[in-house]
């Protein structure tokens, strides 16, 4: 705007507008140019690094929902706020997605035009030699035998041996260029990153994963209803699952007991699940093993051994001696020594219509001291069950609940026979405890191990892998290859039959090796003389 106090003439006022109006199209073009600029890409890269940070600091819901809920509960003020901002689901949060999507758009916007330019460059000839080669940063001059034409021919040969592309714009010069693969590699690297993302998206859309806890002796079939948890991509129909079955026949576990040093004693050493695998109904049974690092390809998903633990066999009888519960009941390990928590839910109603429930610990090597009951070694050296008993309603309101804990809202805890204290049951294998008040008995029959099996199918992983390897190859090409232009001019020397060869090199970036390159060309040129 003009600061002049003169009355405004409509014509001059128009002249005052120095900036042309961008208009919506112009504005978009401006935004696009900003987004696809290198500075923006760099900024987004750094932003991506910063944005990925909180996911490693705060517990993530998709990885450990229990720890996340616990963290939020412990931080009354910050917890809910951070939750709203997506700090517990960083890699699925809108702001994280915004950064990598912008980065991706920026990448495409940068790489596609560059691909076009590079395509043209690949098919065109090296440019005309500059007038004064001695002005180039790297240059040299030698006098050799031969007429200019002969020498020029030899120069061409020497350059071609150095993998240069050559072209003569006139009779006394050669222009040569090499290192096109540098830009090719660079473009392939960036385009392959898009492939990596597409593969990940494919895995998300078409992949599924399912987990099951399988005690020794039990079987499973690959149907949605049999799994403890099932996560399917939006485009997956569980009806299409391949109908394999497997039975866990044995589970071997080994723990460190020789080395007593800190952090080593009791560490897991080997886990092996032996299964009877049937590819489809009617097929013959195959003996297979699933190990950590040794998954089983089922033909419709891969079965991984991701966890293990103990499933004590527990039998509950009523006062008349009728069995009301008998099962290998998985208890989930809470620490490295397999102090495990679990629950027994006797769904059938007992006396006075009340249901019975037991909750507590399974300890493979039990110790009872001032820390309370806990396990001191992960293997079955001194197994024991430490349980509390409850009566009342197991499933108040029919809400879904964990099988490893009791919802005691509708229950009351049983007291000991004298009624002085809460009832605490301590059982070793083979022992039976008779509950007070004619409630029946609970028996610890023995212990089985269970395997935590995860079956997963990710159809995008091959694309991701191939794209990642292409990216790596492109990266190596783009970082190791030098784009170099070399120009040669020949003029007849004063002596008869000799020619002065001037050579100059032009590199894209600062290039220490340019001098070497020119020397190599001249060496090859001299060798060609013979």
């Amino acid at each position: 705007m003009s600061l002049s106090t003169q009355p405004k003439d409509p014509r001059t006022e128009r002249d005052d507008i120095t900036q042309p109006s961008l208009g919506p199209v112009g504005l978009l073009r401006f935004a696009w140019r900003q987004l696809t600029s290198m500075r923006t890409a760099l900024f987004l890269l750094l932003l991506l690094a910063v944005a990925a940070l909180p996911g490693s600091i705060f517990p993530q819901r998709s990885i450990d929902a229990v720890r996340t809920a616990d963290w939020i509960a412990r931080h009354e003020t910050a917890g809910p706020w951070l939750d709203k901002l997506g700090f517990f689901e960083v890699y699925a949060s809108p702001w994280f997605a915004a950064i990598y999507l912008l980065l991706l758009v920026s990448l495409v916007g940068c790489v596609l035009p560059r691909s076009k330019v590079h395509w043209k460059a690949m098919r065109s000839q090296p440019p005309r030699a500059p007038k004064r080669l001695e002005r180039l940063a790297a240059h040299d001059s030698v006098t050799v035998d031969g007429t200019p034409d002969e020498v020029l021919e030899r120069v061409r040969g020497a350059l071609k041996d150095g993998r240069f592309r050559t072209h003569s714009h006139d009779a006394s010069t050669v222009s040569a260029e090499k290192g096109y693969l540098k830009e090719t590699g660079n473009l392939f690297f960036h385009l392959a990153l898009i492939g990596v993302i597409l593969g990940m998206a494919g895995g998300h859309l078409f992949g599924w994963k399912a987990d099951i806890i399988l005690p020794v002796g039990e079987s499973m079939a690959n149907v949605a209803a049999r799994y403890d948890t099932l996560n399917t991509g939006p485009l997956v129909d569980p009806a299409d699952f391949t109908p394999f079955t497997m039975k866990l026949t044995r589970f071997d576990a080994e723990f460190e007991s020789d080395v007593k040093g800190k952090g080593q004693f009791g560490s897991p050493r080997d886990f092996t699940a032996h299964v009877d695998f049937t590819k489809e109904p009617g097929a013959k049974v195959e003996k297979k093993v699933i190990r950590v690092n040794g998954p089983l390809e089922t033909g419709g998903g891969t079965a991984f051994l991701l966890g293990n633990g103990y499933a004590p066999k527990i039998t509950v009888k009523d006062a008349q001696g009728n069995v009301t519960y008998s099962d290998a009941t998985p208890f989930l390990a809470q620490d490295n020594n397999y102090t495990s928590v679990g629950a027994v839910k006797v769904a059938g109603a007992g006396p006075a219509g009340k249901q019975l429930g037991f909750a507590g610990l399974f300890l493979p090597t039990a110790v009872l001291d001032e820390q309370g009951p806990h396990s001191v070694f992960p293997d079955l050296l001194e197994p024991a069950l430490a349980l509390s008993a409850f009566e009342g309603t197991l499933f108040p309101g029919g809400r879904p609940q964990s099988v490893y804990s009791l919802d005691t809202e509708g229950m009351t805890q049983l007291k000991n026979k004298e009624g002085t204290d809460l009832l605490r049951i301590w059982l070793k294998p083979g022992e039976t405890y008779t509950l007070p008040g004619g409630q029946g008995s609970i028996t610890f029959d023995g212990v089985e191990r269970f395997a935590g099996i995860s079956v997963r199918n990710d159809p995008g992983k091959e694309l991701t892998l191939v794209a990642a390897l292409v990216a790596l190859l492109g990266l190596i090409l783009s970082l190791t290859i030098r784009r170099r232009r070399v120009f040669v001019r020949v003029v007849p020397a004063q002596e008869e039959g000799r020619t002065v060869v001037s050579i100059g090199g032009l590199a894209k970036d600062d290039d220490e090796g340019m001098g070497d390159e020119l020397e190599d060309v001249l060496t090859r040129l001299k060798e060609r003389r013979t």
């Binding site: 500075r39 990925a52 040299d140 994963k209 080395v259 990710d458 992983k461 970036d509 001098g515 020119l518």
Partner: protein, 331 residues
């Protein structure tokens, strides 16, 4: 030999390596110190610290090329070798011998450790620490074959000694078998390449810091004179990083393949994975920053420095304090 004997020889070798590297460090310090008085006595205006760089250009450039031409023009009358006092040169030479010996001893220590546990010796924090020290020394010594790196010795050997000290005290773990998830050929591939690239990044980080220090405090100040020119230091920084970065990319890919084998999914956003990714992104940013118009080389080098800070965090903090699937520290 029993496993215990091998393990004790491994530790003995490690202690010897530390003693030898200490002598090497003193030698390198003596080299730098020996340069100073000589220069200050003469009060030369010519930056004699150019010597190593000139050598480097001459070695690469031969009779052709602008850089070497300039060097050749400057050479008469100021023979760079002659300006390094004999005692300093001797100290540097001895230091270099000790550096090589220390590297060999570190290698022997790692190999004996591997023999004592009958597995690849990269299974816990202590072993990562020793291997990172070993590979940093291998990079330094190996690179030293191609050019004179006496100026760099002190700045590499001193941090390596600190790392070994920490590994031996804070992170020491007894020799033992691996946990099941580590029993894979990918341990050899993934962790070894990761440690090699950390060694390269470490030397790159040190050179970047020297570049930034020389740039910030002036080329004529104290021992900074003994270093190559800023331009040369910056190039060396870049040269190291372009070797390390593809190796780190490979680490990331190999880790993903292994994660799929061991944990069922090639990417789990485990804290260690997140940090490996962050490090990759930061170094990618460094490579971009270096060719972005409007970004100075100094600023780009700061990005590289930030990358190595992330590596340190990834190793010393994430391994020990963050809960995740990479909890193999043995602590």
């Amino acid at each position: 030999m029993t496993h215990e004997t091998l393990a004790s020889y491994s530790n003995l070798s490690l202690y010897s390596a530390m003693a030898v590297l200490t002598l090497s460090m003193l030698g390198y310090a003596g080299y730098l110190a020996g340069l100073l008085p000589a220069r200050e006595r003469r009060g030369e205006s010519v930056d004699t610290a150019e010597a190593p760089e000139r050598e480097l250009v001459a070695a690469g450039g031969g009779p052709v090329g602008g850089g070497s031409a300039a060097a050749a023009a400057a050479a008469p009358g100021s023979d760079s070798e002659g300006e390094v006092p004999l005692r300093a040169r001797k100290a540097g030479g001895v230091a270099h011998m000790f550096a090589i010996l220390g590297t060999v001893l570190l290698f022997v220590s790692a190999a004996l450790r591997g023999g004592s546990v009958e597995r690849w010796p990269l299974g816990n924090m202590f072993e990562f620490g020793v291997a990172a020290a070993l590979f940093t020394m291998v990079v330094f010594v190996g690179w030293g074959v191609r050019r004179d790196l006496t100026w760099l010795g002190l700045f590499v050997v001193a941090p390596v000694l600190i790392l070994l000290g920490l590994a031996n005290t804070v992170w020491y773990t007894e020799a033992a078998e691996l946990m099941p998830s580590l029993k894979s050929v990918w341990l050899i591939i993934h962790v070894t390449v990761a440690t090699i690239s950390v060694g390269l990044f470490a030397v790159g980080f040190i050179v970047a810091l020297l570049y930034l220090a020389k740039d910030r405090f002036g080329a004529d100040r104290g021992i900074l004179r003994a270093l190559p020119s800023e331009k040369s230091l910056e190039r060396l920084t870049y040269g190291l990083h372009i070797v390390a970065f593809p190796l780190w990319t490979f680490t990331l890919i190999a880790g993903a393949i292994w994660a799929r084998q061991a944990w069922g999914s090639y990417w789990n956003w485990d804290p260690k994975e997140v940090w490996t990714f962050i490090i990759w992104v930061v170094y990618a940013a460094y490579l971009h920053a270096r060719v972005t118009r409007g970004w100075r080389r100094q600023s780009a080098s700061w990005v590289a420095v930030a990358g190595f800070v992330c590596i340190i965090v990834n190793y010393a903090v994430v391994n020990v304090y963050f809960v995740g699937q990479h909890s193999y520290s043995g602590l």
